[in-house]
Amino acid sequence: MKLVLEMFIALAEQNRYRIVELLRAGPLPVNDISTRLRLNQPQVSKHLRVLKEAGVVGAEARAQQRVYELRPEPLRDMHDWLERYRRVWDARFEQLNDLVVELVEKEKADARRKKKH
């Protein structure tokens, strides 16, 4: 669970989120990320460090440069968590909807009864 929370914070920053979206297409070195997102390299390195600590990305040395790639498991954990939260609310809202429909029907019935009298 802690991992999920770390990830929320890691992804909450907009540029970090953009980096994650970019890496969905495949692994990239730092300079490619900074060129494509028009961010300076130290900035990108800083964001990558946060993402790496949260377990969202991994780094690999390839031909004299470090290539960053998305690690799928943590993102899946986060979606699982969000799905659970959604289900708690979905269960509630199903009941709320039944209740509201019942109250609307009751109002209509009351109005009809009043009309008759």
């Binding site: 992804l11 799905e83 939260y85 959604r86 289900r87 609310w89 509630r92 709320l96 909807n97 509201v100």
Partner: protein, 162 residues
């Protein structure tokens, strides 16, 4: 731009920023009735506990005025008790409601700020619940607040039906 989004059925949950969640849903009835269901204790009792995941309502109180308090006591399928309490900050029937929520077993985690808006269109109401968590600890409390065990049970039940 949401950081993450889940949407199946009609309830949508999204992470929209640093420790902020948004849940949306359309309800088949006018906003004034939905607002009553959200605030009047005799109506709240009838829907707040998510029975589908094995959670039952045990006691609700609600003093709907600015500065008034509410409390919700729920019981999970394994007999565990969880309770939430808070204060109403803004009451604008039938459009908007702002209140705080504390997870009582862990009050040190701080208050969640909840803003609910009810927008009516053609007899239906779009609900948007925005929850702002003050810290990782509160989010943690909300997530591990006893309901997870019930969800596991629901997963088992669904799996056995498939």
């Amino acid at each position: 731009m949401p950081v993450a989004r889940r949407s199946t059925n009609r309830t949508v949950s999204e992470v929209v920023g640093d420790l902020e969640l948004v849940i949306t849903r359309t309800i088949d009835g006018p906003a004034r009735i939905v607002f009553d269901c959200w605030t009047k204790v005799e109506l709240m009792t009838r829907w707040w506990a998510p029975k589908a995941i094995g959670v039952a309502g045990e006691g609700f109180t609600s003093d709907v005025r600015v500065g008034g308090k509410y409390r919700q006591v729920l019981r999970t399928h394994d007999g565990g008790q969880i309770s939430f309490a808070g204060t109403y900050l803004e009451i604008e029937p039938p459009k908007r409601l702002v209140y705080t929520t504390i997870f009582e077993p862990r009050p040190e985690a701080g208050e969640v700020l909840c803003t609910v808006t009810f927008e009516e269109h053609a007899g239906k109401t779009n609900i948007r619940l925005h929850e702002k968590f003050p810290s990782k600890e509160t989010l943690d409390a909300a997530l591990c607040g006893g309901m997870d065990a019930s969800l596991d049970q629901l997963d088992d039940l669904v799996a056995s039906l498939l």
